[in-house]
Symmetry: C2
Subunit: 130 residues, 2 copies
């Protein structure tokens, strides 16, 4: 058994290259022995990832606030606390906070990866039905 105590984690800023705006990460670093990586990510209002995709499944579980998730070519969906989203390998997508609320989600990645990214433009983010 391995215990990771929340009060001993260091929150780090999310790398700027992955997003538009600011987000904070608590990384549980379970990967080496657990077969998956788990992190809690808190987006400031209006912050969002770039478009990206992963080679393995990613699962997001909304924890606080209100956010968006969108896959390419499909209308965005709202995520509220307790909502879960499964993103399949290779699906291009972005996620982040709504403009006026923070959004925290747990991210579970079945294998570590760097992903492939491209920016979500302001036109895309503020479009009503894209």
């Amino acid at each position: 058994m391995k215990k990771i105590t929340a009060s001993k984690l260091s929150t780090i800023p999310a790398p700027e290259k992955y997003l538009n705006g600011k987000a904070w990460i608590n990384n549980f670093s379970t990967g080496n022995t657990a077969g998956c990586d788990i992190a809690s990510v808190m987006f400031e209002p209006g912050a969002r990832t770039h478009w990206h995709k992963h080679p393995t499944v990613q699962i997001l579980l909304a924890e606080k606030g209100c956010g968006y998730i969108q896959t390419r070519g499909v209308e965005r969906e709202l995520m509220q606390p307790g909502d879960m989203v499964v993103i399949y390998p290779g699906e291009e997508h972005w996620h982040g906070a709504v403009p006026d609320q923070l959004f925290a989600h747990l991210a579970i990645q079945l294998e570590k990866d760097e992903g492939i990214i491209s920016e979500v433009t302001n036109e895309e983010y503020f479009a009503i039905n894209s």
Copy 2:
């Protein structure tokens, strides 16, 4: 992408054969397509699982209240919101609420399984250092 909306889940009572006391489960049913099963479990004060083990990794993430986790032969540990525990395949363990608080945790199971169980006695549960 698959979205599982929290407000549409049905909370079910945990099967009695797995525990001592009462617990409630929100099952996200991600398993078939996501490669892991995720559920949120809420133990009433004093409720706990039986001793059990899994053939694959299990990860617990404390969400609310205060609980215990113990592996066989090692002192129990307290779990508070945000704390995570990785339980390795074959490690016999139990988890549950402290006597006077509820305890909710997320449980991530990398593969579905029935586990192998035996009851945590009151002597074990109320022992100070077991």
